[in-house]
Assembly symmetry: D2
């Protein structure tokens, strides 16, 4: 049996941390040897997430005082809050310049540190590292990820908009000034921090939009769409919260350009993703449901005619904790460590 890579999970008491643990526990080539959680340091993982009771896992430790060099980790997943992340990753690379890190926060996603400062309200703490960061959407940046030491795992909302839109933008098939992304997310996207607005009774049996007109994920969308288009693109994007745990669905309204209709857009997407293991384009006219990708690393995409001539509706669905976060991160790990890209990610969706 091949030796296993030694893996660290920073921030193991949050939802993306737990999802990394779930996936890595069954990955044939990875072994979790470090798990951190500052507020839960000293506890066993099973006290924080009882579903791991039957499994052997390292005790949770605090980050402060870790000796990144002697730990000798093959790869580190960083599932820490925004801003803290920059400081920790700076420390890691200072101690061990050969480290490999996949960051699941937003901290290294924006190549332009000025844009970062504008959206996040402070200067970036590690602008030099930012230059070396690769945007971790595997279907688009596979080649770069393979050689990267620092990968900025994309946001869940953005992955669910970029996967359906990037091939259309690259093909110059849609009007760049009239893209409307109406996105709906399950509650795990909001994380595990105790906030009144996230209580069961505030969320259940209701639906609402939030961050209307000013959600931080917009900067990430702008960056990737503009890069693909070769010009500035600004999209309309509205996130909503659905009373469910997992899943993001993007309903995307586009206008075909140069005579392209919905069927043409479907053909472009089908061709783009024909060989991708984790992106599946449904037959024309069929649209995906979040429940059919739950717990899996799949993205399902559908394209349908709009009744307004010249327009089309593109719908994409993924599990925000898997393809939208930890599954994408494991996919990136596989690329960075030379494992088969699908290893440990082959679980079938859990429905119902």
């Amino acid at each position: 049996m091949a030796t296993k890579a030694k893996i660290g999970v920073l921030g193991a008491s949050g939802y993306t941390g737990a999802e990394l643990v779930r996936l890595l526990l069954r990955h044939p080539r990875a072994e979790i040897v470090l798990a951190t959680a500052d507020r839960r340091a000293g506890q066993e993982m099973r006290e924080v997430f009882p579903q791991f009771s039957p499994f052997a896992l390292p005790k949770l430790v605090a980050i402060d005082g870790l000796d990144w060099r002697s730990l000798n980790l093959d790869l580190i997943f960083c599932a820490l809050p925004h801003a803290t992340t920059q400081k920790v990753i700076k420390d890691i690379f200072a101690a061990n310049p050969a480290a490999k890190v996949i960051d699941l926060s937003a901290d290294f996603r924006l190549a332009d540190t000025a844009s970062y400062a504008r959206w996040y309200g402070h200067e970036h703490y590690a602008p030099d590292l930012q230059k070396r960061a690769v945007y971790g959407l595997a279907e688009i940046y596979r080649r770069e990820i393979k050689k990267a030491q620092l990968v900025a795992n994309p946001g869940c909302y953005t992955s669910c908009a970029e996967l359906p839109l990037l091939p259309l933008i690259k093909a110059k098939a849609i009007d760049l000034d009239e893209i409307v992304i109406d996105a709906k997310s399950g509650m795990t996207g909001a994380g595990r921090a105790a906030k009144e607005a996230m209580l069961f009774s505030e969320v259940s049996e209701g639906f609402h939009a939030y961050g209307v007109g000013h959600h931080r994920h917009m900067a990430e969308l702008d960056q990737e769409f503009s890069l693909a288009a070769g010009r500035e693109v600004i999209v309309t994007f509205t996130p909503h919260l659905v009373p469910m745990n997992r899943g993001i669905l993007s309903t995307i309204y586009v206008r075909g350009k140069r005579g392209r209709n919905a069927t043409d857009l479907h053909a472009i997407l089908s061709k783009s993703y024909m060989k991708e293991p984790f992106v599946h384009v449904l037959p024309f006219g069929a649209v995906p449901q979040t429940r059919h990708v739950r717990g899996s690393n799949m993205t399902f995409i559908g394209v349908a005619n709009d009744r307004v001539p010249g327009r089309a509706i593109v719908v994409a669905a993924l599990d925000n904790l898997v393809k939208g976060a930890s599954g994408q991160a494991v996919q990136n790990m596989n690329l960075m460590l030379g494992f088969p890209e699908t290893m440990g990610l082959e679980q079938v969706a859990l429905f119902p």
Copy 2:
């Protein structure tokens, strides 16, 4: 004490029927003297909806064989399935030309019977009655409803799009060719018929769009928007199902015309609904949540800036069974029978 109007509820075993009963049981001027449910005829209402166990209600009967003349009803609510409705209402008016009927189905909403035939696949059975039907959105057609004998209660999706959009269209404030309505509904909108797709396990913990590009409510939207605009309007409309019982939220993307920005649109809506008891416009930038209108007859509307210059986002929320169906119907009854418009509809939303 004033005498009570004698009311009939046809189709009392469905959700809109039950909601009519809930509201009428507490209406000071109405008394249910007839309740029909063909498949449950002979049963007590409490066997069909146990929440009514403590209340006295007439036993459920079948429609066939009812003598509409001798029943001497002051008003009939018709909550029957599509098509059946036309035949029953035809019978009612044949027997009693002075009848007053509020129909909660889609059967009398389309003034153009050709349009009806196109969307529903058969000729209308009562084209003459169609001519006399008044579209029952009280805030728009109050004056006509007061004099009407046959009111076509609007659809829940359409009310939640027409209330926010009609004033903007009438004011010529928005571009008519670029309206996108992304609508999300709770499950009661699908009715009580036993269908696999509506089972709890098919619906819970997931989210999806349906009827993409070809939902029947579009005909109703076209009609009202075109009428208001004085020209043909075709909107983009996508309905989605939310794993919750009640509530519709419409996220509406519009482009201001003639220099109107989001603030202007907010001002138009605020002014339009200033005196309306059942439409409440939130402060600029705030957007509504379905849970805050649950069980009430209120519609909440919010307007926010889009980041794309010239565009705005309008969000509306209502309870599909109340303002979207039975509450609107009781409001229409109040108008038709000369009662105060808010009578029996003053319940505060149930949250959480």
Copy 3:
């Protein structure tokens, strides 16, 4: 029109506070003139609970510094956290010995302050007031409540066990040493404080027991059952959390005594509650569902045969925020202020 009673609601930013406001807004004889919420002082009620946006309500204020005498309130509802409550109510009566207070916390429910100290870990701050407090289960203590100045509104779990069990215990119809109460509650029972365990994603799509063997409500059950039995009674009680907002269901396992079978128990309960407006006993063999009392002040009770000879199963359901808290409190207010007992509480359950 009769003048309205001037009402204060202390703790208006929590769920029981909001539910009091919902009910009082439509009570014909009550007017909210004071609403407190320490952390939200200075805000409007609509900022804390947007469902109240269309209504005029006093601005939220802090409790500190209120002059209870000059406020001249006819009745005060106290929906504050445990322990704080004792101090505030002590202040109120110190300033105004003629005050009338209904406390929705657990602070004045235990007549025995030694028992209080044992379960709550500290001496009671107002033992003299405790002596004057009346236990506010209207169906049992109606006469005492009418004359009381301080009413201790019962707990939601306890009401849902006491209403079905007290008549059986008083009739000496069941074995007192073999009562098992398996209780299930919706999430609003846990309040609005932001705790990790109450987040949507921790609660949705799952079910669990808590406080197994040591829940504080047991002391209240012991007190009322022992009082009714004339000897010490200790029951088995296990609370569970259901992924829903509202509702408590108690499944109660009992053994008939002196030859009483399930039918006899049903007859005792039916007779006890025959004239009660808010307790409804279903036909023998039928059992209640929480959804059929949602939003109403009703308790539904059912009795069925167990297959084990001599045993019966009693099931009770109520809405924890209404009959289990704020509805019961308004019922007590009606008794204390001489209004009809059902005033403002006649809303029909909201289902679906």
Copy 4:
């Protein structure tokens, strides 16, 4: 690579069928070569369950006309409705006496065909086969299952009561006349047939008991408990429905015998299951939650003190579709075909 066993799944359009497909798709030694679904015959599996879209699966066929001999299947899972099952399995063994069948219905669970007739209202169609059927609770009947040709997979409710209770009964540690099982199940336990009572809007935001005093699973409990006790045992059992998809939780009230207290019961269970891969006993006093076993083949068991002297509370949780049905079935397949018992069943629970 070892050759794969050729597997048939009868009834692949239901939930247990789909769950078998989910698990078998990732089983290294099994290949689905036949999938039936009478009403969906001719369709692809992805039309019935879109989550399987990315996978190659045989087209659905009808059962009628299948030649069981020439199909040459290594093992058949039968997930068909009650009664139909007996006829189909009779046909299978008639055509191929060497067949191996795991039946997920209730048809072969009751060894006593008279008991079957009493509970199901008709004579058993295959009493001879019944004699050869082995009850498929692997932890109890492992040895017999290895040699069996026909395995009757246990019911989900019964597994969740038998796993915690059988060791206690065998150890003569609890009073056999005072066992109360209060069970709560997610909605998938009710299957995929379209029934009004299972609609989302009937089930969401509510909780209720059903089959009080007369649920068919009782016969299965009686059989296994009586067998273990060496005398007749009749338990009190009440099932409830929780608004969630997956999971069963049993809260079990017992009285220790011969001085055994809760700690003793915990010790007995811990010892019994120490080496079992799919049953995990939590530390004393901790109780399980259904969400922590979701999607996994695990059963979690907890034991706590009751406050009533001499009594204890045992809580067990499992996923009704996995350990309660299809996962147990695959575990049985592994035993019958000589594969490692945990093969294909190692997925970690999906939480949140």
